[in-house]
């Protein structure tokens, strides 16, 4: 099977390894480009701009030929996206992974079964049963990709890459839209070519967290405001491809389920035993990067973040880490309106 047979996906909780093992190329439909705003008519204008933009891309036929779509029930908006997708592209094969909210053992077990169900379905879609060996090979490949992305991030964070954050974002986007083998090769070469001490700059080191921010230009914009985004906690950034821990003797499905739920989470996930832990962890990760401040950028109407930002802000203030909260719609035009606020924040940090 050609590696260019795409399966679309929209959430960083998608087990890409299974898509790859089935012989498909996972293609993340990122909320980029400039399709006309039409999704609000199908859903509602008061819904996550990430979802609306993805739907707008589909309505505008701005997606490659797809063998099917894999959605994740990660939030209300994602569920509605799956509904709307079925309505506007009724011929597409669609699979919805039911993703538990917590990280407990029963949640891992449930997700393991969901991944097994996905495997069966993708086997049917591809016409071949997916072998465990193939899944294990894919896990290793994705772990390699995740390690490269981590290396890239670490080197950039410690000023050991002669590239911009904009270039890194373009690489992140490539990693979820191109075949994995070519992505691994590309990133390896990129790291080798840019692995040099970068020039010192007077940009202020800032940590960014939130959900969806895939447009590389946005990072140039932050730089133009005087910020250097040294690290991120974004589902279109460093959270995009989590590694799978295969050190324990578990089935691949279990290992994948556990790794997906125990990964650096989107705030739709919660720790039952310690409320708001994941939000507080963001502040600790930012502090570990020795940044001067943090910027929270979330898409509008995102309930998982809207309802947790006050707790994050409170933690940041307690930890004496300056924080700026922004809302946007995944486009440059919305972030452009924040220029004055970002510049003032950076000035304050100097």
């Amino acid at each position: 099977m050609s590696k260019k047979k795409y399966i679309g996906f929209t959430c960083a909780y998608t087990p890409l390894q299974i898509l790859d093992a089935a012989g498909f190329t996972p293609y993340r439909i990122l909320p980029i480009g400039d399709p006309p705003d039409r999704a609000g008519q199908i859903l509602h204008d008061n819904l996550c701009p990430n979802i609306k933009r993805i739907l707008d891309r589909a309505l505008d036929r701005d997606v490659p030929p797809l063998e099917g779509m894999v959605f994740v029930n990660s939030c209300d908006a994602m569920r509605r996206l799956a509904d709307a997708w079925r309505r506007i592209r009724p011929r597409d094969r669609v699979f919805l992974i039911d993703l538990p909210v917590t990280t407990e053992e029963h949640s891992i077990s449930f997700l393991k079964d969901e991944i097994a169900r996905l495997t069966g379905t993708l086997g049917e879609w591809s016409g071949n049963e997916i072998a465990t060996d193939d899944i294990e090979k894919s896990i290793k490949k994705y772990n390699r990709l995740a390690a490269l992305i981590t290396e890239l991030n670490e080197k950039f964070s410690s000023n050991n890459m002669t590239c911009s954050r904009k270039e890194i974002q373009a690489i992140f986007n490539r990693a979820v839209t191109e075949p994995i083998d070519s992505s691994i090769e590309f990133i390896s070469n990129f790291i080798t070519e840019n692995d040099k001490r970068s020039n010192e700059s007077d940009a202020v080191p800032v940590y960014i967290f939130g959900n969806v921010l895939p447009d590389p230009e946005i990072f140039s914009f932050f730089e133009s405001c005087g910020a250097k985004i040294v690290s991120d906690d974004l589902c279109t950034g460093s959270r995009m491809i989590p590694p799978v821990d295969i050190s324990e003797d578990n089935s691949p499905f279990y290992s994948m389920a556990k790794s997906l739920l125990m990964r650096t989470p989107c705030l739709r996930t919660m720790d039952n035993s310690k409320p708001h832990r994941f939000g507080e962890d963001i502040v600790q990760r930012a502090k570990a990067r020795k940044v001067s401040g943090m910027i929270g950028h979330t898409v509008k109407f995102c309930d998982p973040y809207l309802l947790r930002l006050p707790a994050i802000r409170e933690t940041a203030l307690k930890e004496e880490l300056p924080i700026l909260l922004l809302e946007g719609d995944c486009t440059m035009r919305s972030i452009g309106q924040h220029r004055t606020r970002i510049e003032a924040f950076i000035e304050m940090l100097r």
Partner: protein, 406 residues
């Protein structure tokens, strides 16, 4: 708040004492809700704040006063007191783009008027926001939570999973409250739950009558709130009062909205604060709201020999769960059963579950010839309620329905 509920209880009981004929089903319903409200604030029994599809008969069997958090938002809104709490939440950083049911609850918790719970039980259905509110309450009250993941469909594996999870929830509650679930009490609760279910089924069936035997306020917020009485004798009594009264009305040919011309379905939530929508529909257009989306029985009686499975099936059966097509099918069925001419969908601002389905529901009901009026309102926050604009849209919709009928 406890005094507030006491006053309502005393008021209703006095009215009924002085004039037993005034003991309407709605009064009985309001009385029992007020008693539940009083119990929440009385501090005599442990309190559980929950998600909407929590297994309330289990908690009731354990003598734990339990309620879904959105109840508080609706109550604050209906009393006209909600603005203070919404503003409090907004000042704490909870954005106005979120659901105001949830924001008002958070504002109330921050201001100390939410009773302190012993346990928090979130349910992933119907919405993501509800889970986040439970997490916030857990932080405010320094309590652990138990989350019931409600799977997307009723496959046997999913039913088994959820049944197991509900069992785990019982252990969690027992451990935190020190109250054991007594088997006999549990079985009694299951029996009560089934009886209430059956009587409600009859009530809803009677409500299909043309013309409708009840008016647009009598079954307002009914089905969803009745779930709080699952497993209790109070629930049976409320349902029985409705059955008796509707039966009497049907026999006597009583019409809930005199001269009923148009039959409407109300989708999802009512507008909780005082407003003139229902009155306008009834008085000016002889239009009756004959069915609310959640006033229906979507589950089978629970087998006492396998109660967790039956409870799990009920939690999964709520039309908000799963793909929107499931919800649309449910709405279509109601439209046919209740001979509905049109539907009103108040897309509660901030509700991704409800508003996010707006266009798909509208299109789905169009397939069976039922027009939908999508109102853009906030069902809790009266500060932005533009009655004039709503009236204009309702007038246009009603005129269209009148023309369609003629």
């Amino acid at each position: 708040m406890q005094q507030y509920f006491e006053n309502i209880i005393n008021g209703i009981e006095k009215t009924i004492r002085e004039d037993p004929a005034a003991a309407s089903p709605r009064k009985k319903f309001a009385l029992e809700i007020s008693k539940l409200g009083r119990d929440l604030y009385a501090g005599r029994r442990p309190v559980a704040w929950c998600g909407i599809v929590a297994p309330f008969e289990i908690l009731n069997a354990m003598d734990i006063t339990s309620c879904f958090v959105e109840f508080i938002g609706a109550m604050l809104s209906s009393t006209g007191a909600v603005a203070t709490f919404l503003e409090g939440a907004e000042q704490s950083g909870f954005g106005t783009d979120g659901c105001s049911y949830h924001r008002s609850v958070l504002g109330a918790a921050e201001k100390g008027i939410m009773p302190k719970p012993e346990v928090l039980i979130g349910t992933t259905c119907p919405c993501t926001g509800g889970i986040a509110v439970i997490e916030n309450l857990a932080k405010i009250f320094n309590k652990e939570t138990f989350i019931l993941h409600i799977p997307q469909d009723e496959s046997s594996e999913n039913v088994r999973f959820l049944a197991g999870l509900i069992k785990d929830m019982v252990e969690f509650v027992e451990l935190r409250t020190g109250i054991k679930l007594n088997r006999n009490r549990f079985l009694e609760a299951i029996e009560n739950s089934n009886r209430m279910r059956n009587i409600l089924g009859e009530v809803y069936e009677m409500a299909r009558k043309v013309p409708s035997p009840f008016n647009g306020k009598e079954l307002n917020n009914f089905g969803i709130v009745m779930s709080l009485f699952l497993g209790t004798k109070r629930g049976i009594e409320i349902a029985e009062t409705y059955r008796r009264e509707f039966s009497r009305r049907i026999e006597s040919g009583h019409c809930g909205v005199p001269g009923e011309k148009i039959r409407l379905m109300w989708i999802q939530n009512r507008v909780q604060f005082k407003n003139s929508i229902v009155q306008m529909l009834e008085k000016e257009y002889n239009a009756a709201i004959v069915i609310d989306e959640l006033n229906s029985i979507t589950w089978q009686p629970i087998d006492p020999d396998d109660p967790y499975t039956g409870i799990a099936r009920r939690s999964l059966s709520i039309p908000f769960n799963g793909p929107v097509t499931r919800r649309i099918d449910h709405l279509k069925k109601l439209c046919e059963l209740y001979k509905v001419d049109g539907a009103i969908n108040p897309n509660n601002w901030g509700c991704r579950q409800g508003a996010g389905s707006r266009g798909l529901i509208e299109e789905g009901l169009k397939e069976i010839g039922v027009p939908v009026l999508n109102l853009e309102v906030d069902c809790i926050d009266s500060r932005n309620f533009a009655e004039g604009q709503i009236r204009t849209r309702l007038e246009a919709f009603m005129e269209m329905l009148e023309n369609k009928r003629s």
